[in-house]
Amino acid sequence: MRIGDAKQSYEADEAIWTSQTQKLWLGFFLLILLVFPFVVDSYLLYLGCLVGIAVISTTGLNILTGFTGLISLGQAGFMGVGAYTVAWLSINTALPFPVTLVLAGLMAAAVGILVGLPSLRVKGLYLAIATLAASVFLHFIFAEWESVTGGMGGLSLEPAHLFGFTFQSDFSMYFIIVPLAVLMVLAARNVFRTRIGRAFIAIRDRDISAEILGINLLRYKLMSFALSSFYAGVAGGLFAYFYRVVTPESFPLSMSIFYLAAVIVGGMGNLLGGILGAAFMTLVPEALKLLTAALTPFYPNAPVFMSPMLEIIFGALIVGFLIFEPHGLAEIWHRIRRFFRLWPFKN
């Protein structure tokens, strides 16, 4: 349990992790992330990379939808922009991966600003439809602009490289994806400790009074779109390096919904929620497949019976979470923390 947390400076009070215990657990978690690729099999490593990419993209969408209150169905489209940027750059130039990823993010951010322009006038579901239109439009460009995107066949690219080292295996990609995910989540956390993050939340909660406090709505809404699609662009770029092939079908509309679901299941406006949501949405379908495999020795018919059921079970799980935990997975985590704060004296 924790007894008091007296602080001597405002600096200490504004820190992200304020207690020794928190720092200890954080160090422990980072250590697990570091050891993870050395001890697990290739399948879990592959899943780890996927979760890392999903965390980056979900965090981006959380900034836009969870914190700024702007619903977007364009996330897959922005990821596509990032992925195609990386693919095109790696085919046509010799730039190393940090440069291509930043350019992918910037490209996606530029497209995000364009898509975000209607957000000053339209809100809620109408904005969702506007971003939906944008994502259909982007899909059309991916499929038809053959000289750049390779049309329906898409593009194949070389592995990421830096200083002569190529990141060919999942193992090496893990060491790009996961540190980047940690860094980008941390950067997002930083934004919400400053005036910019507060302005985003103010716009979500009550845009008229945000305006009277001197917050320029258009500027901050576009900034949120740009930041969110930067994250999507980087996630898309990593996706391209990871699969090393990019086609228009890599980024279907259902992917946008996947990320929106991750934000909602995890907890809107909560960065930890975004992480948990991304992990949940990526891992649960896989866990259900493992469950099927585990049942097969006992019930030989399990695959026949289970495989059409997987989607239904997955959907039911999401609905269940929304009903029983409307504030998302992050709320469960907070409840656990509250419990242990006074444990064992009160529970």
Binding site: A187, T194, I196, R198, A199, I201, A202, D205, I212
Partner: protein
């Protein structure tokens, strides 16, 4: 010297004339109050001053400079016009501290990149704001015990106080308060009156408020303007306004107390 001068302001929504030819002034470093019955146009006037409504006619001069419609609400906030709302307009999900810090938004400069890194200017600026908010505002308004609480969990009186704190963080020259003590109990009202007087005296901020509580209005105002059906009936010192027959008529409906009494007696006999 008047910090705010309203001349011949007219505002209508279709056929409804919210303000007709309204003129009055707000002398610098006073508590100036606008009173008037419901629907008289008080809040419309506030919305014109803070830039949400564009009056069809007339001018608003602030510190001697005209404020045309092209100066939008965020710019007006930066110029030093802060306000609170009749129905509290706080950000309910945020803590008290974050709400107040938002008031300082216009005076902060850090950009997105330094915010992402939380390094250098952004960090220093945040610390300066925190210090300022803690030591000048939270101490002054006696809300240090609730700084970490989400606003939604606070009582109405405290929420009003937090809203005042947020307006103070904007470092205003003119503070516009829309019904600062509506719905408060006696103790909360007395606290608020004390804060308003201190804001004028110690901070040198001009206060312009709309209020229905006549006891408080007469006690703390230096200057009063009375609005009825979108027109200014009179303005002046509290004592003068109180005895103005036009004002009594606007509030009671009839200035002739004797005829009113006769009418009531007649009705009593009939029943």
């Amino acid at each position: 010297m008047s910090i705010l001068e309203i001349s011949n302001l007219s505002l209508s929504f279709g056929g409804v004339k919210a303000l007709q030819d309204v003129s009055f002034r707000v002398p610098e470093n006073t508590v100036t109050t606008i009173i008037g019955p419901n629907g008289a146009g008080k809040t419309s006037l506030f919305n014109c001053i803070s830039g949400f409504y564009k009056p069809q006619q007339g001018t608003i001069r602030y510190q001697g400079q005209p404020l045309p419609g092209s100066i939008k609400p965020p710019k007006r906030a930066a110029l030093g016009l802060a306000r609170t709302f009749q129905n509290i307009a706080l950000f309910r999900g945020m803590t008290v501290l974050d709400n107040i810090k938002l008031g300082a938004h216009v005076h902060m400069k850090s950009g997105l990149l330094s915010a992402l890194a939380y390094f250098g200017p952004a960090r220093r600026e945040e610390m300066d704001v925190r210090k300022e908010v803690e030591e000048r505002i939270i101490d002054f308004l006696e809300i240090d015990h609730i700084r970490r609480q989400p606003v939604a969990s606070l009582s109405y009186g405290l929420q009003k106080r937090v809203e005042l704190a947020r307006a103070l963080a904007m470092q205003p020259k003119v503070l516009m308060l829309d019904e600062p003590v509506a719905g408060m109990n006696r103790e909360e009202k007395e606290d608020m009156a004390r804060f308003i007087l201190d804001i004028r005296e110690e901070w040198g901020i001009t206060v312009l408020m709309v209020e229905h509580d006549m006891g408080m209005v007469m006690d703390i105002s230096d200057h009063i303007a009375v609005l009825n059906f979108g027109q200014v009936i009179t303005e002046g010192l509290p004592a003068d306004v109180q005895n103005n027959p036009e004002v009594i008529k606007a509030y009671l409906g009839n200035s002739d107390i004797d005829s009113l009494r006769k009418k009531l007696n007649a009705e009593g006999e009939a029943a």
